[in-house]
Symmetry: C2
Subunit: 440 residues, 2 copies
């Protein structure tokens, strides 16, 4: 009887962990290029951290409990409250704009459906302390460059972008009353996924006249910059000009090919105040890869500092599905560089001494821990995915000599060659290597 | 009012996260050199996973609760049960010996004392499926090489090693009854930390005669290989020969200078069956850096597969304290490589285009998101820890030219030089860089 993991939780065997490592390493690499520094917070937080912002209804989706010190606590369902808490605690000391990223594991107790998970890892990149749309462009292009570095081009992924304030101005101009704004946004969010007449009925129920209904139903058709620029927006003309500036910044930063203005992007969360965006697979088969935007009032409303902010979350699950479908994820962890084998003329201690010298040069090495026939050692070397086997104490090898066999490369005619051991080691890696090839 | 993290939980601001990254990267680098592959399991597991092996008394130290699906669950307090569960589920399919490592965050609800934390990260390295002491040597030297790569030499850290079976044979030969073995080990574990007469009294209470008490009290004096070899051990003579073989393997693998046989090493957990070890700071001021050993019967007793196994856990907290005391931790996350500044003759979009080209070559770049005076931009560049500032549109720069200023290197007389922008970019990084300098 073998217990499994809890439903909705993943075991990462080495093959799956290698996929995760590939995604994390790409996230970190792009964050580094963009000058973002990594932070982290506790996976367990006071429950109040989440109820304060989202109200008590979020509790139904949390892994929350009372700890042994009678504290109400919860596994973190999102990272932004932790970010807000940490920034608030040092708001004055931090260099602005803050460019921070983190890769937390997040937890939600959701009804299990369609293999939906209850945990995932999510890259969070946030900029705090800059109100200009240059920051919005910088952040979005960060997300786009992750796609590019993973091998996903503009034909694979689209960055759909809108601005909450433009949408607001458009609805106002169309005669939608301010009070109905939230409810209308909820309908807009579903226009693509429900029959046209259902959406129209809902809008009429909200008190919209025929013109207003027509205007709302036209929102998903606004998918170009020119379309955004020609919208009739009441009181949001300056915002439209800012949006155009934003689009040209995205272009200058190299992300233009991915950009797709789309007035229908709403984002579920209520706290966005400006430009919002989502990254989608171009075929539209998957859920969003990434979502984010500007939330200028959140920090002030939650923990105090009146700092403009923007950020996005990008999970590992949908992204992994897309990369797997495109066959651009590593299939397995890499094998070792070298297998040290030993024949009758050498001992396991000889193998260990060579192993130690190789590892000190940054080379990854395995050898047969238990004593084995040479032929079995070489089979083990192939099974381990070793690139080369070096054979000590082979029948025809002289003093200080060894045979080096290239494994897993059958095209190579000269599979085995005799080497002077010291010379051969000297050609590999570098002495006293520190972290020449960190792979994480 | 700013909420803090829960007591015993850490916020990792970028400076602390950089320390953690340094430790994690070194762990991963040594694991890679030793041919270990990374795995991970869920931080939340069925409670039964822990009560099965350790009994119900462990529950007092767990973060356990009932989830919304009425499951008894717990935040993982250790990784070995998850490892055992995962190996058991694929025992036949896995290549042996299994060389796996993981860096889980672990949780224990301990009474808060001396700043004791309730979470920590712990490297777990395990070998499953090899009974020979070559594996014990390989594993211990893995731990030792982590010390070396972190900059901790044999004068900084000692690897104290014993063998449960030698200790058993020694106690038997000294006349300690088998039934008192566990209780006597508990006394041995504390000999260093309590007055001599307290230990002696306890041993007498356990029914030991004067000779047996003397023999037990002499255990901490056995701290050399010769001492171990000359012990009077009943029925464990073969084990002593194995221990000598183990010691010569540690030497062959390059770890000999750190090795310190020490019969008094007991290890708290009951499940060890052979060689056990602990890494300590040489001054003996801190708790153990690392502890582990062979647990050949655990897998069979827990989830089924009859596979010998051994492993160690190395936490980030004590190790971090030692590295900080030696001042061999990075003080802060690295600054960006290049700051792109722009004077009156250039725009932020010019800066963005240069930024984009540099980042595509793997260079980390920041620039002023909001418009700023050039002098303020250069101050910001210095504050960001940038190595170089490249200045576009400077008064005397011609078409396609820029000024490059070396920052934070006041010894350099020629601080600023004129460059052809294209040529200069060509000297940096590499085009289409993928992950030339992943830092994690």
């Amino acid at each position: 009887m073998v217990l499994g993991a809890l439903p909705g939780f993943r075991d990462f065997y080495p093959a799956e962990l290698a996929e995760r490592t590939h995604i994390f390493a790409t996230w970190r690499e792009v964050a580094r290029r963009f000058g973002f520094v990594e932070y982290d917070g506790p996976p367990l937080e006071p429950l109040e951290l989440y109820t304060k912002k989202s109200g008590d209804e979020i509790v139904g989706q949390l892994y929350n409990f009372v700890d042994k010190g009678d504290r109400e606590v919860a596994l973190r369902p999102e990272m932004t409250p932790t970010l807000a808490r940490m920034v608030a605690a040092r708001a004055n000391a931090l260099r602005k704009p803050v460019r921070w990223f983190s890769i937390p594991q997040l937890f939600r107790y959701e009804r299990q459906q369609r293999g939906r998970l209850r945990e995932h890892f999510q890259l969070n990149m946030d900029i705090v302390g800059e109100s200009d749309v240059t920051a919005d462009a910088e952040l979005l292009v960060g997300a786009i460059e992750i796609m590019r570095l993973l091998g996903l081009g503009p034909d694979d992924v689209r960055a759909r972008v809108s601005d909450r304030r433009i949408l607001h101005g458009y609805l106002l101009a169309a005669g939608v009353p301010d009070a109905a704004f939230g409810a209308v946004l909820a309908v807009v969010d579903k226009i693509d996924r429900q029959p046209r007449n259902v959406s129209e009925d809902k809008l009429r129920t909200l008190g919209l006249d025929a013109d207003a209904v027509r205007a709302v139903m036209a929102i998903p058709e606004c998918t170009t910059l020119e379309g955004m620029q020609s919208l009739h927006v009441r009181g949001s003309e300056e915002v439209v000009r800012e949006f155009s500036r934003f689009a040209s910044y995205v272009e200058a930063l190299g992300g233009g090919a991915y950009l797709q203005p789309d007035l229908s992007i709403v984002r579920g969360l209520a706290y966005y105040t400006g430009i919002v965006f989502e990254l989608f697979d171009a075929k539209g088969e998957l859920r969003a890869i990434c979502g984010g935007g500007r939330y200028d009032t959140l920090l002030k409303q939650s923990w105090g500092p009146d700092l403009p902010a923007l950020g996005f979350g990008m999970g590992d699950v949908v992204l992994g599905e897309l990369l797997r479908a495109r066959a651009i994820l590593p299939a397995a962890p890499p094998g070792v560089d070298v297998w040290v084998a030993f024949g009758d003329g050498a001992t396991v201690e000889d193998a260990m001494r060579v192993t130690s010298r190789l590892r000190a040069r940054g080379i990854s090495v395995e050898y047969a821990l238990g004593g084995q026939q040479l032929s079995r050692q070489l089979k083990a070397a192939a099974a381990a995915g070793a690139r080369d086997a070096v054979i000590l104490g082979a029948p025809n090898a002289g003093l200080g000599e060894a045979m080096v066999r290239r494994l897993g490369d059958s095209q190579d005619g000269s599979k085995e060659r005799r080497v002077l051991l010291d010379d051969w080691i000297g050609t590999l890696g570098s002495p006293g290597a520190t972290r020449s090839s960190t792979h994480s």
